[in-house]
């Protein structure tokens, strides 16, 4: 049986205590909410922290509430709760969809939005047991000194494999981080960086507490996930798209974000330039799909070949946009 390495478990019951605890133990400590990402990684000895700080007792991280038109989602909201919540379903269907496609039902019952946003980057040279990695000779991300995907390079190419990150970025969400120096709120997009090892800008002593979604205000959004099986699998491509149409049918706001093709979610900024002020015609869709395709550079470290995954960017972007161009189902017309 694969077992966890020994650790001490700390379960602070207030956020300020949690922040202090984290500061006290520093790099020896990790945070855990649902544990669906952390514990498998620990069992494979990708991490062996001395202290594990549980966040489940912190009431401050729970719940979905409205605040001045914004939707504030506690970081410890489970993915099941998030995907079933009437407010996310009505205003941000992309987020409800993405949360509902993560892993499998028993994992979504404990996995949290915060956990999914902070999901460790993945690579099929890295998400392996200690024995396997030893046989390989380890890798840059853990215990080794060379990247097995692109040997010779100096960086790690592990893949951002969160379903929710591309969506919250596409929705212009902000995330709240609480650390020893207080609270800061940054755009969700700024939470990530293009590095398979240091993939978050969050300081180690900060806790992600909430995700703040600005008013939907007529925004249409969707998320498409590519993977081999109907469930369980991580994305090998995620496409999050959000559009707002002016009354005359022209696109007035556009966001397109790709997941699972790089070490961070990739915002297709060209999409905005192409789309805004245009009708969502097949030619426009094709142009955006082409722009996304050009930008995507998946590597050979996930399921399926990188060449096919790259081709799928074009297809999935086009399908996502086409879906947003269709007449909206009734539930999307709820006032935000």
């Amino acid at each position: 049986m694969l077992r966890l390495p020994a650790f001490e478990f700390l379960a602070p019951t207030a956020l300020d205590v949690a922040v202090k605890t984290l500061a006290t133990y520093g790099d020896e400590a990790v945070l855990v909410a649902g544990g669906t990402d952390l514990f498998p990684n620990m069992k494979r000895r990708q991490l062996t922290p001395q202290f594990v700080i549980g966040l489940n007792a912190l009431r401050e991280l729970d719940g979905i509430r409205q605040d001045q038109g914004n939707l504030v989602i506690g970081a410890a909201t489970t993915l099941t709760e998030l995907s079933n919540h009437p407010l996310t379903q009505a205003r941000f269907p992309a987020l409800a969809t993405a949360a509902g496609l993560v892993a499998s039902p028993p994992l979504r019952n404990v996995g949290t939005l915060g956990g999914n946003l902070c999901l460790d980057t993945r690579c099929n040279y890295y998400n392996q047991t200690h024995f396997w990695r030893q046989a390989l000779g380890f890798c840059l991300k853990k215990d080794g000194d060379t990247c097995r995907v692109a040997p010779g390079g100096k960086r790690c190419w592990a893949i951002s494999s969160t379903d929710c990150a591309p969506v919250v970025i596409a929705l212009d969400a902000r995330v709240q981080l609480v650390g020893p120096n207080g609270t800061r709120e940054i755009p969700a997009r700024a939470l990530y960086r293009d590095d398979g090892i240091h993939y978050l800008t969050k300081a180690h002593d900060e806790i992600l507490t909430a995700i703040v979604l600005p008013p939907a205000a007529g925004l249409r959004s969707t998320y498409l996930k590519l993977r081999r099986r109907g469930s369980i699998d991580f994305p090998i491509l995620g496409v999050a798209a959000a559009l707002r149409f002016a009354p005359n049918g022209l696109v007035e706001h556009a966001r397109l974000v790709l997941g699972a093709i790089a070490s961070q979610p990739i915002t297709v900024t060209a999409a905005e330039k192409i789309l805004i002020g245009q009708k969502l015609t097949p030619d426009v869709i094709e142009a955006v799909a082409e722009a996304a395709y050009t930008l995507a550079k998946p590597m050979d470290n996930a399921d399926a070949s990188y060449a096919w995954r790259k081709k799928m960017v074009r297809v999935y972007v086009a399908r996502a946009l086409a879906q947003l161009g269709e007449p909206m189902p009734a539930t999307n017309h709820l006032p935000a």
Partner: protein, 810 residues
């Protein structure tokens, strides 16, 4: 046969006898067992695909507190293996490791964590050798040889056989077609990870509980490797949490657990991790195939020439048999007057391949059935009609000396054709567009297609692994004066319901309910030998032995009852717990009364039954693989939807008609058919043993893609119950055959949907897309192996066909 040929148990959809224990969690699988003072064992495994062991130092591990024993290959120097002719495995490698995961040492410690720490303290110095990682590598004589005993360098085994006049067959053909195919390896992936618990008592007796499908062969291997007489070894197969062939070899962890128990005087349990299950493997051989057929214009086959190369991995396992099986059963579906088979198995530095569900036959069946579909298309024939016309006949033999006792294949084809609406589809619906995905300048769509394929499989191997004249299955029945009946048999229930089969047969014969029958199986101390749950042998072989034993004891009971009731024994029957005179129903006794009379008359009531298959091997070397008491038949139609933009294939539905003889319990037969079909879908679309840098790329349940509920199609199973003369009440097999037609039916359906041929499995989206791209460029609309290596097979053994085999021009 029972009175009026009506059955109270047989043919009814009954639950299995363990069903309640399984739904309550009471079943104790091997890893659920613990014993007082039990230690935990772990194996240290090679980190190199191919290397010499230069130095191995266990001293630091031995000193770790909580460690009770550390063993290496020196402690287990005797080689073993399932086949007598390939005794090439060491429980712990002595001088050489041959794949990443090959065991080199083992420890027993107070708990699993200590055992793992001890493994980390064992120092092994390796001298790496060049790894041999593919069929092409194995044919490259510049690379090192894995085993000295191979037929030639890394070619483990050559087979070359020719039946009938192959040249005349091709000359008589009106159309000849050649194809090459590749079937990727895959693994069983039973949900239960293997576990073994060994106990050695101070009086020198060894007991092993193991998740094994073949306790008899484990028994033999323990005797050999531990040098203890079998009389002092007891092997008990714990309930098996899925086998599919992956628990049919004697395995290193079983031997190591025993040795550690002997050295420490304490029980030792070794439970493999999921990753270790991948290394233990014995899964589907990757097979490269070349096929050439000659046919008449109506599709009648005049000659078949078939070549295979099997990638066997690092050890022999069942591989010699697998090599023969990759050719032997090509002849049992359609009439073939001339057949040449050339096969070989190579060694590579990968976990050893062995017998997975369908043992060696899904790969050639895939190639053959796709090849036939192409021929039908080339000749403008309906693939279903072309096949049904030339189905083999009952009571004939094949050109390679296999005896067809019953064949319901034609009816199977008719039934799936009817159920799936095949004919209407052929007439009007071809390449149906399900959904138009058009956008921009591209035309894209999801398209539906139907494909058909057929197959056949053994009801048990006609010859034992160790050639001898002993029965393949033995059963003891004991009747208690309280009315309880106990049945003892070495057969192993791996979820297919073989324990229940024993209860059903005894209950049917004695007029009781299955709950009245106590079943004791798979325990080498208590039960007579049954060779194990492999080759779909249990229903026919165990069933026949069980009937023989039961009918003997039944005669004694009836004889005693007849004396009491003053009627001839022949007038009595047993039903609903009574012994009753059919001519005078007033004359009856309860079963308990009758049993007491019989025990008073004959003494303690017990009987034995044995089954040895009919001796039908042909007159040539290599004829031992292929013969069986009977063959099952299956036809399958698959409906797929192909997304032409992504290449993704979704199987919407499978129609499966299976001739498994009489269905002793139709619910269990359908369960086997559905499970086999499911596994076929996995192999066709997503399961694959992929390697990279000398290592299994993805040894996990996340990355090895086992279909979920959402990936599994609806399966409609139709039972075609021929009554086979060889089987108990006419039964044949169901456990393996229904997998076989599924991958080719899916491949043929993909062609029907989008007009491209995927000549390899798994049929991944990228292959489909690549084929569509080739088609768009005007190239051959196909992906698959480009050629077949130019290897020289030995001159074939030429064999005269039997007189009642299909003949050219008849």
């Amino acid at each position: 046969m029972p009175h009026n040929d009506t059955f109270s148990i047989i043919g009814h959809a009954l639950p299995t006898i363990e069903a309640h224990a399984k739904v309550t969690g009471e079943v104790r699988y091997a890893d659920d067992l613990t014993l007082p003072r039990m230690l935990y064992g772990k194996l240290l495994r090679s980190v190199y695909p191919h290397a010499r062991i230069l130095h191995l130092d266990t001293s630091r591990a031995e000193k770790l507190p909580g460690v009770f024993a550390v063993i290496t290959g020196k402690d287990l120097p005797i080689k073993y293996g399932i086949m007598p002719s390939s005794q090439d495995e060491e429980a712990l490698c002595i001088e050489r490791v041959r794949f990443v995961g090959d065991p080199v040492a083992a420890v027993a410690a107070i708990d699993e964590e200590t055992a793992n720490r001890a493994l980390a303290l064992i120092e092994v110095e390796y001298a790496p050798l060049a790894p041999v990682m593919s069929i092409r590598d194995a044919l490259d004589e510049r690379l090192p040889q894995l085993h000295d005993y191979a037929d030639h360098h890394n070619i483990h085994k050559f087979v070359s056989l020719e039946f009938g006049d192959i040249e005349a067959g091709f000359q008589a053909a009106e159309y000849i077609r050649e194809d090459t195919f590749f079937y990727e390896g895959n693994t069983h992936l039973p949900l239960e990870q293997h576990a073994a618990l060994a106990q050695f008592s101070s009086d020198g007796k060894l007991t092993l509980w193991s998740s094994t499908q073949a306790p008899h062969y484990v028994h033999r291997a323990l005797e050999k490797t531990l040098q203890i007489p079998r009389a002092r070894i007891r092997v008990i197969a714990a309930p098996v949490g899925g086998g599919f062939g992956g628990k049919a070899d004697p395995l290193a962890h079983e031997i190591a657990a025993c040795k550690l128990a002997m050295l420490t005087g304490r029980p030792v349990k070794i439970t493999l991790t999921r990753e270790e299950v991948f290394y233990t493997h014995r899964g589907r051989h990757p097979v490269l195939m070349w096929i050439k057929s000659g046919v008449k214009r109506d599709g009648q086959i005049t000659a078949l020439h078939f070549k295979t190369i099997l990638d066997g991995g690092a050890y022999g396992s069942y591989g010699i048999a697998t090599t023969y099986y990759s050719g032997a059963l090509q002849t049992v579906t359609y009439k073939i007057p001339a057949y040449k088979f050339e096969g070989m198995r190579v060694f590579t530095n990968k976990p050893p391949c062995g017998p997975k569900r369908g043992h060696g036959t899904p790969q050639p069946r895939f190639g053959f059935e796709v090849h036939l579909d192409k021929i039908a298309h080339d000749l403008g024939l309906d693939p279903a009609e072309m096949r049904r016309r030339y189905v083999v006949e009952d009571g004939t033999q094949t050109v390679n000396h296999l005896t067809i006792t019953s064949c319901g294949l034609r009816e199977c084809i008719d039934r799936v054709v009817e159920a799936s609406g095949w004919k209407n589809w052929q007439a009007v619906g071809k390449r149906q567009e399900v959904e138009n995905l058009s956008r921009g300048t591209q035309h894209a769509a999801r398209r539906r297609g139907l494909g058909l394929a057929c197959s056949s499989y053994l009801s048990g191997a006609g010859l034992p692994i160790y050639w001898n004249d002993l029965p393949h299955s033995g059963v003891i029945v004991k009747v208690d004066r309280g009315g309880g009946v106990a049945v003892f048999c070495g057969s192993t229930d791996i979820g297919q319901g073989s324990n229940s089969l024993l209860a059903y047969l005894v209950a049917e014969e004695l007029g009781l309910r299955p709950a009245d029958i106590q079943v004791f199986t798979a325990d080498t101390d208590l039960t007579p030998v049954d060779l194990g749950s492999y080759s779909s042998r249990v229903t026919v072989m165990t069933g026949n032995a069980c009937l023989q034993a039961t009918r003997q004891i039944k005669q004694k009971i009836l004889q005693a009852a007849a004396e009491k009731l003053l009627v001839p024994a022949e007038s009595l029957s047993m039903r609903k717990g009574i012994v009753i005179c059919e001519d005078d129903e007033q004359r009856q006794l309860s079963f308990v009364q009758a049993v007491n009379l019989a025990e008073a008359k004959f003494g303690t009531l017990s009987s034995t039954g044995s089954y040895t298959p009919p001796k039908r091997a042909g007159p040539f070397k290599g004829s031992g693989v292929g013969p069986s008491p009977s063959y099952s038949y299956t036809a399958c139609v698959a409906a797929v939807v192909v997304d032409t933009e992504t290449g993704e294939v979704k199987v919407e539905k499978l129609w499966l008609a299976h001739d498994g003889g009489r269905a002793l319990n139709p619910q269990l037969v359908i369960g086997q058919a559905e499970g086999g079909a499911y596994m076929g879908v996995g192999e066709a679309l997503m399961e694959e043993s992929a390697f990279r840098r000398g290592m299994l790329k993805i040894p996990s349940l996340l990355d090895y893609k086992s279909p979920t509920t959402l990936d599994t199609p609806a399966i409609q199973t139709i039972l075609v119950e021929t009554l086979d003369p060889e089987g108990p009440y006419g039964a044949k097999e169901a456990g393996q055959g229904p997998l076989l037609p599924v991958p080719p039916a899916i491949a043929n359906a993909v062609f029907d949907a989008i007009g491209v041929r995927i000549d390899q499995v798994p049929i991944t989206p990228e292959l489909v897309l690549r084929a569509l791209e080739e088609k768009a460029k005007g190239n051959a609309p196909r992906v698959g192996p480009k050629d077949f290596p130019n290897v020289k097979y030995p001159n074939p053994i030429k064999v005269e066909p039997p007189t009642n085999a299909p003949r050219l021009g008849v």
